[in-house]
Amino acid sequence: MNNENTSAMNASIKPDYTVGEHPDLPPPSNTVGTIAWVRENLLSSPANIIMTILSIYFLYKVLPPSLNWMFFDAAYVGEDRNACRAVANGACWAFISERFQLFTYGFYPIEHRWRVDLSFVLLVVAVIPILFDKTPYRKYGLIFAMVFPFIAGWLLTGGLGLAPVPTEKFGGFMLTLVVGITGIAFSLPLGILLALGRQSNLPIIKVFCVSFIEFIRGVPLITLLFVASTMLSYFLPPGTNFDLLLRVLIMVTLFSAGYMAEVIRGGLQAIPKGQFEASDAMGLKYWPSMRLIVLPQALKISIPGIVNTFIGLYKDTTLVIIIGLLDPLGIGRASLSDTKWTGLSNEVYLFVALFFFISCFGMSRYSLYLENKLQTEHRK
């Protein structure tokens, strides 16, 4: 195209603005707004339209009956199952509300339940400074968080001035929290040690850590729990009567430590060699260099994996019912054998599922939030 041509074209168009000062115009109306959104996201092509229709049909088939069963046709109060059925065809939530205390505390003695409540309040106090780095007095909060498991252990089992409560009385959500939080609190440090051991250049330590990790990851948790409940006592000094809950706690901790170690090893491997060299060159010894330079970075990288391991552990606490401990699922199944409430398994399962969903979904959301925060923090 030659110059003459261009200028001729320009002349014929006659811009209604000064060149170089074109105003910002709104986009064409058919590309913004609700209608455009619907067209773009639901109806953009024949295949897309079919997908939308199928999805709506699916929702139509599934949603109204489920909602009816769960809420609109449900009975919230009633003496027993028949009372529920008399009022409504749907779920019988009266069962859950009647057994709510049992679901929460298990068979923990009623006069001592304040100890469980207090531990729970302290748990919240301990967790807040870990979760949010803007908590005031965070340093003291973190120190408290470290001693919390021991305080809670004392409060719940008693001794030293408190009336002792045998662990067989533990049950319900309280048991889930005890197993879950002990596992989380102790598997992280143990996992870190195992991961460092696996990366160590001392062959014996490395071999030991590798075989431990691979063994743990190679067998299902349920077999380890069986080991805890059936054969572990053989390996202890004759005459020791080792608390079943404690044995379970040890097994759950070891189990998730094995997975934790692999997650953290991934983080360790992702750290550039230069970081190790720089801390060596500065004269830092092994442990300070791990604590100050390597682990903070490795743990940060592995946060998603660590939280996933926590979630896995938390969900796995349900397995304790198989060796006879009564977590909410166990309480629910035990209650179903009561002739007053027989046949309400769906209500029990959904209620327990809701509890787990809230806890686990919360954890995974928090991990996402943390990931995003760390990603923006130390970068431009």
Partner: protein
């Protein structure tokens, strides 16, 4: 090992009082590969040495042997009277005295600039925190970035990061500084700001060993230029002689390659 250290000490006391690094018939292998062959080098206190050579010639490996980031298998390295061997106490002593600046900065990304600088004084030299921070600010001022002290390394440009790395090493008050290609990873416009800091540092009498291809820097600062190739020291000379009148064919070839572009 302590036996040979004694000999080293005696020699130093008798003849050359002011030699801080003494490398004697040092060899190193990576598996079968002979990376360093019979290295002999004495560095006087306050001397500035520039080491150059084609890539893979072993120059980085050699200066990394001086603070034992790499282990040598044969020969002797004595730094400031301490012989480097498997003795961890000796390695600790040497690393306190020797600062190092890396090609890729190796700043700690999870710590602020200030924390990067105070980490080693606090944990290795056991300096009180306030004192360490004050000193760190002084050095950050000397490398002309005191205003970045509370940022994270990822927020700085390459040149600024490398200056932080220099300040970080200086905070340990080292007697010897090792530079491992400090400008190779930088964009051209940032090389000068780093070189300026290094030139200023040189004028203050610290002992410097610098692996670099910045020949201008070598001409202004170096007392001696060392040329390495294939794991050997091929030639060492004053910068003037080295550039104007190279003795060895390989040196001439190398110089012609890096100066004519």
């Amino acid at each position: 090992m302590s036996n040979s250290t004694k000999i080293g000490t005696e020699q130093m006391n008798t003849d050359q009082d002011n030699i801080v690094i003494r490398i004697n018939e040092m060899h190193k292998w990576y598996g079968q590969f002979h990376v360093l062959k019979n290295i002999n080098l004495n560095v006087k206190r306050g001397e500035k040495i520039v080491i150059c050579g084609p890539s893979g010639s072993g120059k980085s490996t050699m200066i990394r042997c001086i603070n034992r980031l790499e282990e040598h298998q044969q020969g002797q390295i004595v730094v400031d009277g301490t012989e480097l061997s498997n003795d961890l106490k000796n390695i600790e002593v040497v690393r306190k005295e020797v600062g190092m600046v890396f090609q890729h900065f190796n700043l700690f990304p999870h710590l602020t600039v200030l924390e990067n600088c105070t980490l080693a004084p606090i944990w290795v030299r056991k300096t009180p925190r306030l004192e360490a921070e004050e000193m760190a600010m002084q050095y950050l001022e000397r490398v002309k970035i005191p205003d970045q002290a509370n940022k994270f390394p990822g927020q700085l440009s390459g040149g600024q990061q490398q200056r932080v790395a220099i300040a970080r090493s200086l905070c340990m008050k080292p007697r010897i500084m090792l530079f491992d290609e400090p400008t190779s990873a930088l964009d051209p416009e940032m090389i000068k700001e780093v070189l300026d800091v290094m030139i200023e540092l040189a004028s203050e009498g610290i002992t410097m060993l610098c692996v670099t291809h910045e020949m201008g820097f070598a001409k202004t600062v170096a007392d001696r230029v060392i040329f390495m190739d294939g794991g050997e020291i091929i030639e060492e000379n004053s910068p003037q002689h080295f550039f104007d009148n190279p003795q060895h064919d390989r040196t001439r070839l190398f110089l012609s390659q890096i100066l004519n572009h």
